[in-house]
Amino acid sequence: MINENITLALAGNPNVGKTTLFNSLTGARQHVGNWPGVTVEKKIGTASHKGRDLTIVDLPGTYSLSAYSLDEIVTRDYILKGRPDSVIHIVDASNLERNLYLTIQLLELDVNVVVALNMYDIVKSRGDSIDVDMLSKNLGLPVVETVASTGEGVDDLIDAALEAPPMERFKPFYGEDLEKRISAVMDILRNDDKVAPRFPLRWLAIKVLEEDKEVLKLLEGNELEPRLRAHMDKGGENTELELVNRRYENVRCIMSESCRLSENGLDPSDMLDKVVTNKYLGIPIFLAMMWAAFELTFKAAEPFTIMIDKFFNWLIVWISNNIAHEQLASLLGDGIVGGVGSVLVFVPNIFILFLIISLLEDSGYLARAAFVMDKVMSRIGLHGKSFIPLLIGFGCSVPAIMACRSIEDSRDRLITILSTPFITCGARFPVYVLFAGAFFVGAEGTVVFSMYLLSMLMAILSVILLSKFVVKGEKSPFILELPPYRMPTMRSAVLHMWDRGKMYIKKAGTIIFMGAIIIWVLASFPQGVEYGSADSLVGMMGKVLEPLIRPLGFDWKIAVALTLGFVAKEIVVGSLGTLYGTGENDDLLRDQLRADPNMTALTSVGVMVFTLIYVPCLATVAIIRKETNSIRWTLFSIAYSMSLAWVITFVIYRVGLLLGY
């Protein structure tokens, strides 16, 4: 027997357990989200079933197959052009009507479809029932009950997808008038040999009547276009809505014979929503949740942070004691271990914060938080969805910028991408701790907290500036499904945390590693200079850059630290340690900073503010490039944050001097 490779595509609405099923089929480490629009790109995995190799494609979650959003176009194009052997349509049984609306459209694409009836347990718990055999017969498609979270029914589902018995498929009926128009358009399209043969004819005719913009693009300039136009214009704008209505009628007709559904009683989600989205309680609850999340993050991470810190300090001592070659020991100890270690120290903080965010997301709360925050966000010109990336930004800007993918509108998405880096990420925290501890003894907490507050204000200011002057346009309409509350599972939350957090570890291993070596070289050469002194390459560089930042009250050492901090903000602290000759000992560095006549409390505020605002790190620049797919916007982002940093620090420094600080 030839072991041919079979491709199965997973399609369905958002929040139906599609990604969970994908994970249980492929074992791939993928994101499971309780947030609409989590999967924007299609994900591919492999599986084997009874000795046959399967390729599984996870398509984005969509409500429909119109050309409304990029997700829908991606899904539709893949099914039409990728020609999977079968499409597994995951259906939320507790919300059958809207899910079958998509089934109807899949039927029209002339592909093999198998329906996975998921979340049937919720239906049963409501006291409702679905006659699965009847549903299958009415649709003319195999229907298999599944529980995606436990993998129940998945084997039967694959069997059905591989060996579907021939059945008479349901054919949606659009009513006499529309059917006549569909036939007329089909008759015209039959004369076309360029576009029509590539698509199911009836589907194409319906899309023409809908005036689907992607299909019209294909037919542009075609000699049949005027004749098609005549048919499109007949119904005016109502045709599209009429088609939607008729599809729903078909769905209801199918359901009437196979489902017994009662009127919905009081839903526990509604009761929770009453509290969580309350006019007065909503924002306090949200703030309390956020406060608890950050408190928990720092408290729970502390023992791990101390352990990691101790380990790297021990490693540095061990290297200097055991490696005889002085320069090599310095490269390994001061350079690589010091640099990479300063990044890895924040891994516990970032991972715990991401774990908490994942738990909130999977439980369904994050969608409510987006609703609560919409009031605040809409004042500054964005809507509630943009708040999620900003929240993730407190951990690390890189996954935060990636999370902007769930924002459909391109204007909103760009503004959010460009403003997210202003949120204080884990890497900027040690810079605040260093300077607050050196110049604000006794008030460190307040100073650090103020920096966090300032970072939120900066993000808001940036959104306002960008939407007023740079990325103009109307705020996009905000519609967001609020999924039912679910008990989050640790497994999925951990997978999700890892998905976001791994980028940070990768950064430590690649960019920071390289950055650490470069800094060490710059600080050690030319041969024979004192490590990190004014005579070293790094010192010379600082002297060159000094005039640029002299107006801010910074000297060459700060110039060097900030320049190197462009690689990653964590490096600012480490490079100051190098420049002041105190190495990894932060207490000693604080003493040295205080003793430096160039450094005052005011300049230390300046350094913190500048660090907060300017380009977070190379990794962020790289991800902005990737996510905006534009060098122009990437360069804009660098110039924008640099000039904001300079101007704001300048104002603070000058006003501070006038006030006599």
Partner: protein, 81 residues
């Protein structure tokens, strides 16, 4: 004789919290109107307004909840009993 059951035509945005209403017309632009219809805001569909207080609203259709901005809600005409 007086009719005891009054039916008002109004935008969804004006329906008080906790009340039911029925979709009567969609005056949104084409893309949005279709999206709303596909999500279940069809003519004749019963809606329940869970939240309506200044900002975005929460509306449920047959147990499915949606948060939508007031701007969209203004474009959904409803009958309200």
């Amino acid at each position: 004789m007086h009719c005891t059951k009054l039916v008002y035509d109004m935008p969804l945005s004006s329906v008080p919290e906790g009340r039911d209403c029925v979709v009567n017309n969609l005056s949104a632009g084409r893309g949005l109107a279709r999206r709303l219809a596909e999500l279940g805001f069809l003519l004749g569909t019963k809606l329940k307004v869970n939240r309506s207080e200044g900002g975005a609203m929460i509306v449920s259709i047959n147990g499915q909840r949606f948060a939508l901005s007031r701007g969209i809600a203004k474009k959904i005409g409803v009958k309200h009993f």
